[in-house]
Point group: C2
Chain length 225, copies 2
């Protein structure tokens, strides 16, 4: 493993599993000019360290306590432009990848491919402004792009605050009656909102909305309003 440049690349790793962190560190430091300068077991600690110290690259686990990888990236990329971020995750779901790219994250590496992929990812991401995504995920994306897929992100943004509030409660398995009692509004209003949500999300049929919230619980939980 040789690198053309002698410059030391300062790396932060954040993952809540100490054993994984250990393994990751030893893989990374097998390359001479890579140095792991800080380890975090949660997103908040990583965020603080990055704000207060100069580092080149942050490798963030997506699933972490306190702040997850998404949160950290969201807070960071506005202020720190030189910083590169690589996500480590177990999820190969497409929707994640989209979200990641929106945040300005440069790398997306699947944990099960980590040994092979992480060094490639660091190399590509740290030398220039290029993107690295685990090959297996790229394969996924290609398959995805062949079929025209409805863009839920866009649709979510077309929802009003009331609609989002109600969508959230539907995802928590609340009936229209329960929602009306929680929000101190008429049951009829709730039903009207439901109806409008269905229209905006292009959902039709019995229970379509609840089924949608089940399938997209992740996105709904992350919804801000």
């Amino acid at each position: 493993m040789l690198e053309p440049e002698g410059k030391i690349i300062k790396i932060l790793i954040a993952d809540d599993h100490p054993i994984f962190r250990n393994g990751l560190k030893s893989v990374i430091e097998s390359v001479a000019n890579y140095s792991v300068v800080h380890e975090s077991d949660n997103g908040e600690d990583a965020f603080k360290y990055i704000c207060e110290n100069e580092i080149d690259l942050a490798i963030l686990d997506v699933e972490m306590p306190i702040m997850d990888g998404f949160e950290v990236a969201k807070q960071l990329h506005v202020e720190k432009k030189s910083l590169k971020i690589i996500f480590l995750t177990m999820f190969k779901e497409e929707r994640f990848v989209n979200k990641v790219l929106d945040l300005g994250v440069k790398g997306y590496v699947l944990k099960e491919n980590a040994v092979i992929d992480i060094l490639n990812a660091i190399k590509i991401v740290s030398t220039g402004n290029k993107l690295y995504i685990s090959p297996i995920i790229e394969h996924y994306l290609e398959a995805r792009n062949t079929k025209a897929e409805y863009n839920y992100k866009e649709s979510f943004e077309s929802l009003t605050n009331s609609e989002k509030k109600i969508l959230k409660l539907i995802s928590e398995n609340k009936s229209s009656k329960e929602i009306s009692e929680l929000l101190f509004i008429s049951g009829k209003t709730v039903e009207n909102h439901r109806s409008n949500i269905c229209k905006k999300l292009e959902l039709t049929g019995s229970n379509a909305l609840f089924k949608f919230t089940v399938d997209n619980k992740f996105l709904i939980d992350k919804m801000h309003f």
Copy 2:
């Protein structure tokens, strides 16, 4: 880290994340008489190795390709009585712990506590027939035992084959009409089955069945009929 006995304990580790495996190995082998004799990145490989070789302890990730930890344990504990099994997992859900204990698995360690817990677990499990469960999970279990919990496993077994078949299809988001067309039976029959399933599972109210299948998808997928 001193051990009273000089006997070498032969350990197999199975986890689909190579970096985690590396880290785990180095933690384990920091103890003189622990030796990792084989690493697997999937359950099937682990199963085969264990069948063909004499090892003392298998540390299995619950989430693995081909065969998961549950499958491996299920196949093994009948034939190999001297073998000890420790599960490594990210899930602290109670239902998993119950399932694990039923299989004769001796250890249950959460990945986020792995560095501290795994060596304790190996020590306790390998010296005698004792059980080790990550303290944080034990805390969970205590809380759980105070409330009387409905036993779904029992209820599942009370379902007839037709009912199970239909429950599976409901979990796949099929309507009664669709199910009737798939099974070549009247829609009314499907509704009767639904009704009986609701009675057996003690579910009432609109959509309760579908909500149940969402919450218990894991169990339904494992259902045999």
